[in-house]
Symmetry: C2
Subunit: 129 residues, 2 copies
């Protein structure tokens, strides 16, 4: 049971940007290097996060990426869903009356609430001292 | 984020057996049919659950599978781990000091405790009326 690699990297890249000074733009290379994410995969991820309205991208010499909203307005769930990583814990989670369905749906609710409850301004999980 | 298909089916097959009368043996076909699990995949899963000491298998006309222990002694975690589905929520969960590591390790602990806390005699999730 694991988050997709793509969502894992997206959360990491977004948390990197949450730790930059306001208004600073980060290049793909900078993020890839600091977070040890394969560069081409990261480029694709940042493009998709931009398409989903979570990042802004700037062209040119002073270009790069920065968060499109305030840190407090971006939840982990938004980032995960932007990567099309469905939180669907079991084949049976949506099958009303299926054995174990109740177990899975409760677990899924817990996960969704957990991911919804953490934003990029979380000082316990995201912001580094 | 999803449990592996194999662990999903294993939990379902084990919960089917937990709902049978004591001492009753269930055939592969019976479980496959009742739980809508592909027969060949199920055969492989039951064999592995037997190898891991969670099921007993009996040969012959009256043969079949039954739980190797009391329902209260078999947790969801044991079944999932028997299917080699590691509960490893993120690439970074074990990387001390990595960004987000604390978030992932807390989430992982929650999941493990959840799976550990449910056994096959759970009347809310497993046993059918």
């Amino acid at each position: 049971m694991r988050i997709s690699r793509k969502a894992d990297y997206a959360l990491r890249a977004m948390s990197y940007m949450a730790n930059q000074p306001d208004g600073k733009r980060s290049s793909i290379s900078e993020i890839a290097e600091n977070e040890a994410i394969p560069r081409d995969f990261l480029a694709k991820i940042l493009k998709e996060l931009t398409g989903k309205g979570l990042l802004k991208s700037y062209q040119g010499v002073t270009g790069g990426y920065q968060l499109a909203k305030r840190k407090s307005e971006i939840t982990f769930l938004q980032i995960i869903e932007a990567m099309n990583d469905k939180i669907k814990v079991s084949l049976y989670v949506d099958k009303k009356g299926a054995p174990l369905q109740l177990f899975w749906s409760e677990l899924q609710d817990t996960l969704i609430k957990t991911f919804q409850g953490v934003t990029l301004d979380n000082s316990r999980y995201v912001l580094r001292k």
